[in-house]
Every structure is written in structure tokens, then in C-alpha cells.
């Protein structure tokens, strides 16, 4: 059977361009840059802030000391893990609803006509503004936090999925008809793989949104979580603690994004392979 990868990867009869000799950068240079640049920047920050007398911008040494005291691992189980669990729960929910609803809206026109205006209205509301409403409706526990994250993070995936499905190549659709694929087969073997690059782009935006709302949702309710601790530190003028929280958020954001990139690269290996092959021809 012809798969999306096969079709995409099929060489097209285009005039052949003269092949440029690619200058591959050795992997050790990439590693050196990846590790060396942040190290140099940290060293610059450390030196420049060493004699800081500004309360609002303490030295990096102070910030790192507080980072170690707070997060490694005094507050790890009580604050970091609950925040990440809420993030994972909310994002997973958003991914399922976003992809599922995106498919339905893309494929069933009447449903799209019915729901699209409402979706665009709700997604225009800043998610943070909805937190007090969620508190009124479902309280201020983890349910509220997960719901807030899920609602905010659903829309980028939903829109991307709709666009992805609607832009599936007509040839692919024809092929699936000729091969008499069942609805389930069309879904799993044609539409989903074809729309996957766009869906993943939407999921990546959803992840960023989920991360932001994770922090915002901790501003109210029980004062647990990275966001709650960072906010309390800011309001109590514990500025080094606040910077340590900001640093942790930066590190977590970076790591989560990297993990997402790895998963994306693995699942979309066929797609990146096809693009690489196209470039090579």
C-alpha cells in the first residue's frame, strides 16, 4: 500500500539542480557550542553581577545558592512535581480534545459552521482571565488548574489539526478512495500521518501555552507549586528566591521543549526523511 511517506518521498520530475557540496559541521562543534555558549554566558552573568548592590538584581551566586536550597530538593516533591503533574494532565487533555475535535470540525462541515464562531470567541479570551470563573465553578484544587491548562492549550492544537486535515493533498484522498480504505483506515493511515506535521506544530504551541497557564493557575488557591512559590517570593521581596523560581521555570521550559522535540523527531521521522530526500534531489 502506498503511504503518505511514500507519496511525499516519490521523486518528482523536476530539473535537476547542480548539487552543492554540503559542508557538514562536525558534531563535536555543535556540542561545544551547545555547552560552551551557555557556560560562557553564565560566567559573564556571574562576573557582571558579582558586586551587585541592587536588591532587585542580586548576584548570580546568591540566586544559585537559593536555587539549590529551594529546588534541590527541598520543594521538589511538594511543589515541582505537583506543578509538572498538572502540566502533563492539562496538556494531555488538550492534545486529545484538540486533535479529536479538530478532526470532527475539519471533516464534518455543519459541525464546523456551528462551532467555529464559538471556538474563535472562547480562544480570544485570555486564559488567565478565566481562572476566577473556574474557581467559582469547580473550586481551587488541582481540577481547576488542570482545566485551566487544558482549555487554554486546546485551541492551538485544534486549529492546527483543522488546518492540517483540510490541507491534505487531494491525490492522497483519491488514492484512499481507489484503495477502498475504510473510514478508520483513512483516519489512521491517510489523514493523521498527512496532517501530523501541522498537528505537531500546534501541539508545540499548546505546550508553551500550557506552561504559561500552569504558572497563572497557581496564583490563586493553595499556595503550592512553582508559580505560587515564585509569586510569594516576589511579594515578600525575597528577590533571590524569585529569581531562583524564574531560573527553574526557564530550565524546565527548555527541558520540556527538548523532550517534545525528541518525540516529534521520532514520530515524524518519515516526514523529516522525506524532506531531506527532497532537498537532496
Amino acid at each position: 500500500m502506498t503511504t503518505t511517506a511514500d507519496i511525499t518521498a516519490t521523486p518528482v520530475a523536476t530539473p535537476r539542480r547542480p548539487r552543492r557540496r554540503s559542508r557538514r559541521i562536525p558534531s563535536w562543534v555543535k556540542w561545544a557550542l551547545a555547552v560552551g555558549t551557555p557556560t560562557l554566558l553564565l560566567a559573564a552573568w556571574w562576573t557582571a553581577s558579582a558586586d551587585s548592590s541592587n536588591t532587585f538584581f542580586p548576584s548570580l551566586e546568591q540566586i544559585l545558592t537559593r536555587f539549590q536550597q529551594l529546588w534541590l530538593f527541598d520543594h521538589f516533591l511538594t511543589d515541582v512535581v505537583p506543578s509538572l503533574a498538572n502540566l502533563a494532565g492539562g496538556f494531555a487533555l488538550a492534545a486529545i480534545v484538540g486533535v479529536g475535535l479538530g478532526f470532527v470540525l475539519a471533516l464534518i462541515r455543519p459541525v464546523r459552521w456551528l462551532l467555529e464562531p464559538i471556538i474563535h470567541f472562547v480562544r480570544s479570551i485570555p486564559p488567565v482571565a478565566l481562572v476566577p470563573i473556574f474557581i467559582t465553578m469547580i473550586g481551587f484544587g488541582n481540577d481547576m488548574r488542570i482545566t485551566s491548562i487544558a482549555l487554554a492549550a486546546t485551541f492551538p492544537t485544534l486549529i492546527a489539526t483543522m488546518d492540517g486535515i483540510r490541507s491534505v493533498d487531494g491525490t492522497l484522498k483519491d488514492v484512499s478512495v481507489v484503495y477502498r480504505l475504510t473510514r478508520a483506515e483513512k483516519f489512521t493511515q491517510v489523514y493523521l500521518p498527512a496532517a501530523a506535521p501541522q498537528i505537531f506544530a500546534g501541539l508545540q504551541v499548546s505546550l508553551q501555552v500550557a506552561f504559561i497557564v500552569m504558572i497563572a493557575s497557581e496564583m490563586l488557591g493553595a499556595a503550592t507549586g512553582i508559580g505560587a512559590l515564585t509569586l510569594t517570593a516576589q511579594q515578600s521581596f525575597m528577590i533571590a528566591d524569585m529569581w531562583a523560581g524564574v531560573l527553574l521555570l526557564g530550565v524546565l521550559g527548555f527541558v520540556i521543549n527538548k523532550i517534545f522535540d525528541l518525540v516529534k523527531a521520532r514520530i515524524l521521522a518519515w516526514y523529516f526523511g522525506a524532506k531531506e530526500a527532497q532537498r537532496a534531489t
Partner: protein, 337 residues
């Protein structure tokens, strides 16, 4: 593609880190941007959080006290919360900031050098002999019929506060301690006043710490006032403060003395003309005048006394909200000997 992306992310990280590093090395912005000297053309910018006690600013302006003191212009900026006001005063964005005493001591403890210019609100000398509910614009409310009958009963219960480790939490902790309870056993929840009232109604929290005008709303909804923690904690004297960066005060003491003198005159007027003051308060807060009249009456002490403020400083240490007393001395108050 990947290489380009790596370079872009590295460049972005570099810009961010260098920016942060540069900030780390910098000193606070040069204060005293506004015209200097109380010579009749001095402008003062004030950061407040829009409380009823800000009526004093309107009185000072409308009664001409500011002009008499040599202040030609008053710019009032509303800020989100006291820490934001203190940050603004430190950066030189404003000349004077309103802050309750607890954030003031938190700031001093973290090395922020502030000077008290004048009290901004508080209680009279005989506050402990008076009805606390008539003086205190804060209150702890429990649902009607609750089994909690005293502050000690809040142990182990869910109590909402507007912010953690801020004035309401500290004052309630003192009320619990004075009642023989252990404040560390309270489950504090951060809720905005509207959510707190709703959660109280739905039984999601056991008690709500509220500030006027939400105290009146809580009473109207059938909730019971459990305690007026402000009076319990402060006893008498200044509670809210007008503060400025010590460096700024040192550079232009006349301006701050002029502001203080004008405000003291406004306080005398406001304490004697409560109806008029409440009218201003209604305009500032956007709360119905009748509702305001049902709540506590704002009182302005004429002087910020060291012993009153240091008592609060001491209590914060005893309650464990600061590791040691904040570095607060008599010369932390403008004009104090």
C-alpha cells in the same frame, strides 16, 4: 536548518542573559526625577492601591494643604499591590508609595532601604477600648452557623487571604496566637475577594479574610464576623504608611517634609469631617457611599511613632514571618529624633 535554529536560540539566550547580567550590575535608577525643593513648584508622584484612606490625598489637594506646603502638583498612580509600589519607589518611578506595615518590614528585611514619610491610615490611641469592627476595615468571616467561634478554631481549617505572608495572614496569625492557637496549622488559600465570598458560600473554605467593602458584602450575605485582626495586631497608631527610598529622601528632604506636613493637615481635617472623607473614598473606590458608611470609619493617625511600628516588627519576628527584626530604627521615620 537545525544548525540555524541552534544559532538563533543561542543568540536569543545570549541577549537575554547579557540583559540580565547588565541589570545585575546596575544600580537603582537615579531618583528625584520630579522637580525638586518645596518652593512652590514641586511636583510629587504618589503610588497607591486605591483604598478608602486615599481620601486624604484628595482632601490635601482640595483644601489647598499641598499648595500651602509648596507642592504644586500631585500625580496619583494606582499600582497593583504594595510590593509593586515599593519597587516603583525604589526605581524612582514615583516619589512616595503607599504600603501596609507588613510589606514594609518585609522590604526592610530584604535590604531595601526605605524611610517612612508619614502614616497613611491606622487606629487612634484608645483603639483597644473601642469596638474593633468600627475601626478595622479588615475582618475574618465564617459562614453563619459555623462551628468556628473564635480565632483558635481556625487551626487546621481552610482560610482564604488575598496574598500569602502578607498583612492579612500575619494579623490573623497573631489573633490565633493570642487566642491560644497555633497559626502554623492553618491551611492558607490565596483567593481574590469575589472568589473568597463565593467559596465561603459554597463551603470550599472555612473562613475568609476580607477587606472593606467586601466585609460589608460578607455581612450582608449572612456570614459572621469572627475577628477584626488589624486592631488585635497593631493595637494603635499607624498601619498603612507613606514611604520613599532613603536615598531620595536624603537628596530632597524638603519635598518629603512638605508632603508630610500637607498630609497631617489633611488627616486632621479628615478625622473631623468623616462624611466628606467618605464621599471622597466612595469616588476613589467606586463603592456605593451607603455601603462605605456601614463599614469601618477610616482613621488617620497624625504621627508615625517608632514604638507603634516596632511593636509590629517584633510581632512579625515572634510569629516567624521574619528571621529577625527588620532593621528599623527611629531615624527610619522622616523627622523623628
Amino acid at each position: 536548518m537545525n544548525t540555524r535554529r541552534t544559532f538563533l536560540s543561542v543568540a536569543a539566550a545570549a541577549a537575554l542573559s547579557l540583559g540580565l547580567a547588565a541589570c545585575g550590575g546596575s544600580k537603582a535608577a537615579d531618583p528625584g526625577e520630579s522637580q525638586s525643593g518645596a518652593s512652590g513648584n514641586t511636583a510629587v508622584s504618589v503610588g497607591t492601591i486605591g483604598l478608602a484612606s486615599d481620601a486624604s490625598l484628595r482632601i490635601a489637594e482640595d483644601q489647598g494643604y499641598l499648595r500651602e506646603a509648596g507642592i504644586s502638583g500631585l500625580e496619583v498612580k494606582t499600582v497593583a499591590n504594595p510590593p509593586a509600589a515599593i519597587a516603583a519607589v525604589q526605581s524612582g518611578d514615583i516619589d512616595v508609595a503607599y504600603t501596609p506595615s507588613v510589606p514594609f518590614f518585609n522590604a526592610l528585611n530584604q535590604g531595601i532601604d526605605l524611610t517612612v514619610i508619614a502614616p497613611a491610615d491606622g487606629y487612634p490611641e484608645n483603639a483597644l477600648e473601642m469596638d474593633a469592627a468600627e475601626l478595622d476595615d479588615t475582618g475574618v468571616y465564617v459562614p453563619g452557623g459555623s462551628d468556628i467561634s473564635s480565632p483558635r478554631g481556625l487551626e487546621g481549617r481552610k482560610v482564604s487571604v488575598p496574598a500569602r505572608k502578607a498583612q492579612m495572614e500575619v494579623t490573623i496569625s497573631e489573633a490565633i496566637r493570642q487566642d491560644g492557637g497555633d497559626p502554623s496549622k492553618v491551611q492558607w488559600m490565596v483567593l481574590d475577594p469575589a472568589s473568597a465570598l463565593d467559596s465561603l458560600k459554597n463551603g470550599r473554605i472555612d473562613a475568609a479574610a476580607l477587606v472593606s467593602p467586601f466585609t460589608q458584602q460578607a455581612g450582608a450575605q449572612g456570614n459572621t464576623l469572627l475577628a477584626s485582626p488589624g486592631v488585635t495586631f497593631f493595637e494603635k497608631g499607624a498601619v498603612g504608611l507613606w514611604v520613599a527610598g532613603s536615598d531620595q529622601v536624603e537628596q530632597d528632604p524638603e519635598k518629603y517634609e512638605a508632603f508630610r506636613d500637607a498630609m497631617v493637615q489633611a488627616y486632621e481635617y479628615g478625622n473631623e469631617n468623616t462624611d466628606e472623607a467618605q464621599g471622597y473614598a466612595a469616588e476613589i473606590t467606586g463603592v456605593d457611599l451607603e455601603t462605605l458608611r456601614q463599614g469601618a470609619t477610616t482613621y488617620w493617625p497624625l504621627e508615625a511613632k517608632f514604638e507603634d511600628l516596632n511593636r509590629a516588627n517584633q510581632k512579625m519576628t515572634e510569629l516567624g514571618y521574619q528571621p529577625q527584626n527588620a532593621p528599623f530604627a527611629e531615624d527610619s521615620i522622616l523627622g523623628a529624633e
